[in-house]
Amino acid sequence: MTQTAGSITAVGSYLPLLRLDRAVAAKALKHFGLGGRQAGHRAVAGWDEDALTLAVEASRTLVATPPARVVFASTSAPFIERAHAGVMVDALALPRATRTSDVAGSRRCAVSALLDALLAGQDTLVAAGERRSARPGNAAHFSFGDGGAAVRTGTDGPAQLVGWASVSHDLLDSYASHEHDTPYASEERFVRDVASARIISPTIMAACTMAGIEPHAITQAAVHEPLSGMWKDVARQTGATAPNHATTLSAAAGDLGAAHALFALALAFDAAQPGDHVLLAGFGSGCDALVFRVDAPVAGAAEARAMLATGQVFSDTIHFLSLTGAIDLDFGVRSETEQKAQATVIERHGRDTIGFIGGRDMAGNVQFPKSLVPVRPDAEGHEPMADVRLADLTATLKSVTADRLNFTPDPPFWFGLVQFDNGARVPMELTDSNPEGFAVGDPLIMRLRIKSRDKRRGMRTWFWKAAPAARPALATDGEG
């Protein structure tokens, strides 16, 4: 190996709270001969989550120091023209001098971007978020999952890139387009044969060769399968014997698209021991295979494993269809609210809002939003304020209600007065309610969520919402 590559310094991961019980939900399609035999869970984003919020949540632990570059990766990004990486910079309160780019085009885009960052030896945050649509009855509607994953690269991380290879191959296993924005899949047998034998396996073999190891020396794998069960074919073709954490992730949360391989990589790192070789392979219009040598535990890997163990299972089919946008429920006249956001206002307030930046006045009181004259009762005039980010602080619920009159796509509309431990107080929307709901005194953490959606103009805004400080343990029923 003549080229010096970078390393992974830390990983991040995020799944939405809700997990669909696939087997129960599939029964609703039995009449139609659809749904198939299902098992496991599908991570389902709340109405207020999208590819951007999922990517941001996965990235939050990775930006204690600002990266030089942020790459946002997704095939389901909400905007066609508006850079999400730039929004991420504001949401994560990173300097505006941060270099940014969005990548898309295939599920592989995040792994490709990661490889680029590693080869460049850059201090880069590669963040993927995915919330893909599919039509009910399509296998993807159950096999997809929503989630985010992120990787921070550098030059002195515990996971060193030691081998890599790429193959470009325009295989039409599944596609989506502007004219057909849900997946259109080819015959599974065709995909299974061609993708494994001509694309994935050769790429893995090449990467292992470059790393100077045989595939059976790989101890943990994160290989994005085009179809479930394909790792067996790849393992047979390559001689690999490692467990594939991407398979585990598919069963537990679904195929996370661009975020899938990175999330699975975190799981693989969690299972790896120092000295192990870990394989990462991204698939889609080709393949990128990366071999890492793990020298020490990777920060964030254990949290990815823990993420799989918490959540809230549901099986209400109509709820699932509504959350995934597969049906458009008529919420009546009260839902006809005007939520237009103005560019001029976003220019003035957008960065502080999505960054949840409040201000500390001259007497030390913290407030949100900032104001020229502080809210402090004894303030007598204009004071300078120092920025204080509230997004990463804990808080307590001061007052609350479940509002059943106000329109929300997923009733009830929870909101209340949130008291931050640093003294700031903010009326906020609440999200990710546990089954028992919210109560005064509940400990809270902040989550970036969609604040408003202006469907008529294709516009949305984001802000932070308060969520329970802890998620319930996922009730396990035996499957991955």
């Binding site: 509002d403 009159l405 106000n406 009326p427 805004t461």
Partner: protein, 399 residues
Amino acid sequence: MATGIRDRVAIIGMGCSKFGELWDKGAEDLMVEAFEEALADAGIERSQIEAAWMGNALDDINIGNSALPLAHALRLKTIPVSRVENMCATGTEALRAAVYAVAAGAIDFGLALGVEKLKDTGYGGLPLRTKGLANDLWMPYGSAPGTFAQLAGAYSARHGIGAADLKRAMAHVSWKSHQNGALSAKAHLRKAVDMETILKAPMIADPLGLFDCCGVSDGAACAIVTTPEIARSLGIANPVTVKAIQLSASHGWETGYGEWDGASVRNTQVAAQRAYAEAGIRDPRSELSLTEVHDCFSVTELATMEDLGLSDEGRATFDILDGRYDRSGAIPCQTDGGLKCFGHPVGASGLRMAYEVYTQLNERAGERQLAQVDFGLTHNLGGAPFNSVAAVSILGRLN
């Protein structure tokens, strides 16, 4: 040194339209109905009115901006007309403007009229309003019941009142208002409702059920004011006078500074203390004959009883259950049914409250008439507990 407006302005005529879901009436009908009653009551000519203030909170719902709709409806020829808006406290704000103009000596006769035509929205409840483009980026879009429901949990936590006790006291508030509303010919809801029905009603915003929420209504109410001297010259020997009108507004303290307990409305407390001082009332519990408070939601009335100083802190639950604020109680509240049953056409409500106190002071309340009425208080609350405008007025007789 300012001395306030106590007894410097008399109310010589009041009118109030029928409140309700008035599918066949527009804002013009409502304004004319209320005004013609007030004009007849005052015994003056329309042309004697020198200035008018129109209170309307939601101008986009079939009324229109400015006060021109009032000038058009009543054909007020070239006099100054102004629209005032202060959320649900709009009605009292209109009265305050007219009263201040007379007290200042700028005019002899002023008109305050509040009107709202809410049932052209096409749905129940108040419309969701934008909070301003910058605030919309972060502030929750809560409904009115959602914002006031927050009082309940905070009140329980603050005073250690169990949810069941609080719920029962809230239900009693609504039960009492239904009893009174049934006796008010112009009220929106005129049917008595039993406690069990109230307690089992569908939830709107936890813990507020359907019967914890006031009606959303169409309606108008108005007052004609002048000086006590002119009132006497018109043959009104002992006119109803304004003892006080005070208003307190949030500046962000509740939501932005970590002091407020969420269990009370500070602006009500402040406005009440100012009003008592202006009116010369030292002991409201013994001096007030009745109150018309802003019972947009049952829990609001409960908290208001403490904020007005009529119940000790943490004791309103028990005072309510003891019947202290029933029509037969020590300090009757909402003798006309209140917002809960008389209805809540937002811009009209403050004037409707004054209309009931005025009616009681003039001993015209029929079956609802209280035995002894010396001072009546109105409490008109705009916004939400955490961001409010509270208007408190006190009416009595000149002598």
